[in-house]
C-alpha cells in the first residue's frame, strides 16, 4: 500500500472505471427534493448520503443533491436514519 502511494504512476494500477456525474451526463434528470425516488439512489440503505467521491457526482451537482436530500428529510419524504428492515 505504502509503495503504491509513493509511486502511483509506476505499474500496479488497478483498473477503475471512470465515474461520470450522472446529472451532467443526462440533463433530463432534475434534482428535486419532492422526488425521493430519484434521490434514493444517492443514499445508502440506512439513509446516509453517498459522498461525491464514491458516486462520481461533480461538486456542483453533489451540493444540489445534498441540499435536496436534506430538504426531503425535513418534510419526512426521506429518513434521517432508517432501519434496514424499513427498505
Amino acid at each position: 500500500m505504502a509503495q503504491n502511494r509513493m509511486a502511483p504512476n509506476k505499474r500496479k494500477r488497478l483498473f477503475r472505471r471512470k465515474k461520470v456525474c450522472r446529472f451532467c451526463a443526462d440533463s433530463s434528470i432534475a434534482i428535486d427534493y419532492k422526488d425521493p425516488q430519484t434521490l434514493r439512489f444517492f443514499t445508502t440503505e440506512r439513509g446516509k448520503i453517498i459522498p461525491g467521491r464514491v458516486s462520481g457526482n461533480c461538486a456542483k451537482h453533489q451540493r444540489k443533491l445534498t441540499a435536496a436530500i436534506k430538504r426531503a428529510r425535513t418534510i419526512a419524504l426521506m429518513p434521517y436514519a432508517a432501519t434496514l428492515s424499513h427498505y
Binding site: D26, Y33, F41, F42, T44, I50, V54, R73, I75, A76
Partner: protein
C-alpha cells in the same frame, strides 16, 4: 413579488370536509396580504419516513403561491399554531415574478383543473370513454415514470458497484 411553494403534511385522519376550511383559511391569508394562490396540489395520504406527532402516515399538500416575506411569515405562524398540520416546509422558487404572468398562470391552472373535472364527470356514465380519456391524460405521466424506471435500472448496478468501496472506510472506523 416572489414565488414560494409550501409542502405541508396534514393529519391523516382528516376528512375532505374537514380539510376544506383549512384551505380556505390559508387562501384567505394570502389575499389579505397581497398574495395569490397559484396552485394547490394534494398528494394524498403517504407513508412518512419517520413518525411525526405519533403519526406514521400523513396527507401531503403542495401549495404554490406568490407573495412577499411578511405573507410567508404569517402563513408559517398559522401553520405552527394549527394542530391539523403536522409539519411544513416553505421553499423560495422564484425571486421575481410578474403579477400579470402569475395571474395568467393561475387561470391556465384553473382551466386545467376544470377540464380534468369535466373529463371525469363526462366520462363517468360511459365506461369506454372514461378509459380512453384516462389513458390519454395519464399516458404522458406513465411515460415519465417509465423513463425514470429505466434510468433507475441503469443506475442500480453502478450504485451497487460503488457501495463496495464504501464498506472499507466503515470497517476501518469500526476498528
Amino acid at each position: 413579488m416572489r414565488r414560494y411553494e409550501t409542502l405541508y403534511i396534514l393529519h391523516p385522519e382528516l376528512s375532505e370536509e374537514q380539510r376544506q376550511p383549512l384551505f380556505d383559511k390559508l387562501t384567505g391569508l394570502m389575499s389579505a396580504d397581497h398574495g395569490m394562490l397559484v396552485k394547490l396540489d394534494e398528494w394524498g395520504n403517504r407513508k412518512l419516513a419517520y413518525e411525526i406527532k405519533k403519526q406514521t402516515r400523513g396527507y401531503y399538500v403542495l401549495m404554490e403561491f406568490c407573495g412577499d416575506g411578511p405573507l410567508v411569515k404569517e402563513i408559517e405562524r398559522n401553520m405552527r399554531l394549527d394542530d391539523r398540520i403536522l409539519k411544513y416546509l416553505t421553499v423560495l422558487t422564484d425571486k421575481a415574478v410578474d403579477a400579470e404572468a402569475a395571474k395568467a398562470e393561475i387561470e391556465t391552472a384553473k382551466a386545467e383543473t376544470q377540464a380534468a373535472k369535466e373529463e371525469k364527470s363526462s366520462s363517468e356514465p360511459t365506461e369506454q370513454g372514461a378509459d380512453d380519456e384516462k389513458g390519454d391524460s395519464e399516458s404522458t405521466k406513465a411515460g415519465e415514470t417509465l423513463v425514470n424506471d429505466t434510468e433507475a435500472s441503469e443506475n442500480t448496478p453502478e450504485t451497487s458497484d460503488q457501495e463496495e468501496p464504501e464498506n472499507g472506510p466503515k470497517q476501518n472506523g469500526a476498528e
